[in-house]
Amino acid sequence: MFELVNTDIEGQIFAYLPFGDIVDYFSPYTTILFIFALVFTIIAIVSKPERQVDVAFGGDAYYTKDISDKQMRFQRFMAVACGLATMGGVISGDVFNFTLFTAMVGIANIGIVASTRNKHVLDNAYEYGILAMIGTLPLFAGAAITVAVTGTLSMWLLFTPAISVPLIAKLLLVIGVLAEGMAPVYVAKAEITRAPGAPYILMVHVSSLVMFLRVIEIVISM
C-alpha cells in the first residue's frame, strides 16, 4: 500500500513506520538526512564543549572562557532535543508532523543560543526568537491551506499526481522553515558562533540545513 509514486528525487522506499494515520518512511534521501542528524546528535552527546580563547589586544594576556556545568548540561539537552526533532522531521510522512517538528527545532535553537549569559548573544537570541515565532505563521498557514485545498496532510497522497497543492501553500511552507531554522540569518551574525559551547552551536546549523533540504524535497514532490 505504501509506495512512493515519484522516485526521481527520493529513490525507492526502504521501509516505512506506520503510527496510525502517520506513516514515517525511509527512502535513500530521508535516510541520508536522518543519519546526518543522528551523527551530529551523537557528537553533541559525547563531546565536551570547547573553551574559546580571548586575546587581550596590546599585551600578552589571554584567557579561556569557562563554561559552567549547568550551562553545558542545558545546552547539551537542547542540542539533543534539536537533533531528535530534526530526525523526526526528516522521516515524517505527514506535513503537519513535519511543521510541528520544525517548530520544535526552532524552540530548541533558541534554547541553545540563549543559554549563554552574554548581553550580545542574548540580544541576538531574542531577535531569532521573534523570527521563529513569526515563522510559525507561514509554517502552519502553509499546512492549513494544504489541508483545506486537498483535504489531506499525508505525503503519500499529496505526492501523487492526482492531487495538486497550491503554490502559495508551498511558498508559505518554505518561508516557515527558513524562519524556524533561522537559515537565512545565522550565517550573517557573528554572535551565534562567538557564543561559547561549540559542538552544541553546530546543531543550530545542522538542523536548519537538514530541515531545509527536506522541505525542498517535499515541495518539489507535492
Binding site: 503537519f96 533558541i110 540563549a114 540580544d123 526568537g129 513569526i134 510559525t136 505563521l137 502552519f140 498557514a141
Partner: protein
C-alpha cells in the same frame, strides 16, 4: 463584490491575510522589544485563525499543537527577555512570590469570615489557616499581643459557657453559642502562633 466571487473559505483567508499584513506592519514599526514580543502573539493568533478557517475536526486537532507551540515559544522568549534585560530579582526570602505582597490581607479576611460562619473547632481551624497565611506573608514583626488577648478572653468565654451549662441548663443554646465562639477564637489563635514562628530571629 469580492464576497460574491469568492467562497466562504477564500473570503476568510483574504481577511486573515489583511490581518497578517497589519500585524507585520505593526511589527516593523514597533521598536520596543517587549512590545514586539506582545505583537508576535497577534501573529500567532492569526496563524491559528488560518488553521481554524478549514472548519473541520482536523482543524480542531491541528489548532491545539499550534497553540502549544506558540505558548512554548512565547514562554521561552519571555525568559530570554527577562534574562537579557536583567529583570531578575533574586528572592530575599526562601519563598517570595508577588502575590504574597498583595493578597494576604484579603485572603486572611476571607478565611476569617468563612471561619466565623462555620464557627466552633472547624471554623477556628479555617480562620487560623487564614492567619497563618497572613503571618507567613507579612512576617511576624507585627504586634501579636492582640492574639494573646483574644486567646485569653476565648478561654474565659469557654469556662463561662460551662458554668452556664452546669448552673442554668435551660439556657443551653446561649452557652453553646458562647462555647462555639470561644473555641473558634482559641483554635484560630493557636494556629496563628504557628504562622508567627516562621523565619524570625527570636524563635
Amino acid at each position: 463584490m469580492i464576497l460574491q466571487i469568492l467562497s466562504e473559505y477564500q473570503t476568510g483567508l483574504f481577511i486573515a491575510f489583511v490581518c497578517i499584513a497589519v500585524a507585520f506592519i505593526a511589527l516593523i514599526k514597533e521598536k520596543d522589544d517587549l512590545h514586539r514580543l506582545l505583537l508576535t502573539d497577534i501573529v500567532e493568533i492569526i496563524a491559528l485563525v488560518v488553521i481554524a478557517l478549514i472548519g473541520t475536526d482536523l482543524a480542531e486537532a491541528l489548532i491545539l499543537p499550534g497553540l502549544v507551540v506558540g505558548i512554548a515559544e512565547l514562554l521561552a522568549l519571555a525568559e530570554v527577555y527577562i534574562e537579557k534585560e536583567k529583570l531578575v530579582n533574586s528572592p530575599e526570602k526562601f519563598l517570595h512570590i508577588e502575590i504574597m505582597d498583595s493578597a494576604p490581607v484579603i485572603l486572611a479576611v476571607l478565611f476569617l469570615l468563612y471561619g466565623i460562619i462555620l464557627s466552633g473547632f472547624t471554623g477556628g481551624a479555617v480562620a487560623g489557616v487564614g492567619m497563618v497565611f497572613y503571618f507567613l506573608c507579612k512576617g511576624s514583626s507585627e504586634k501579636t499581643e492582640i492574639i494573646e488577648t483574644v486567646s485569653g478572653y476565648a478561654w474565659v468565654a469557654w469556662v463561662f459557657a460551662f458554668i452556664i451549662f452546669m448552673t442554668l441548663p435551660q439556657y443551653w443554646f446561649f452557652a453553646v453559642m458562647i462555647a462555639g465562639a470561644g473555641i473558634f477564637a482559641k483554635v484560630a489563635a493557636k494556629m496563628s502562633i504557628v504562622g508567627t514562628m516562621r523565619g524570625e530571629r527570636n524563635v
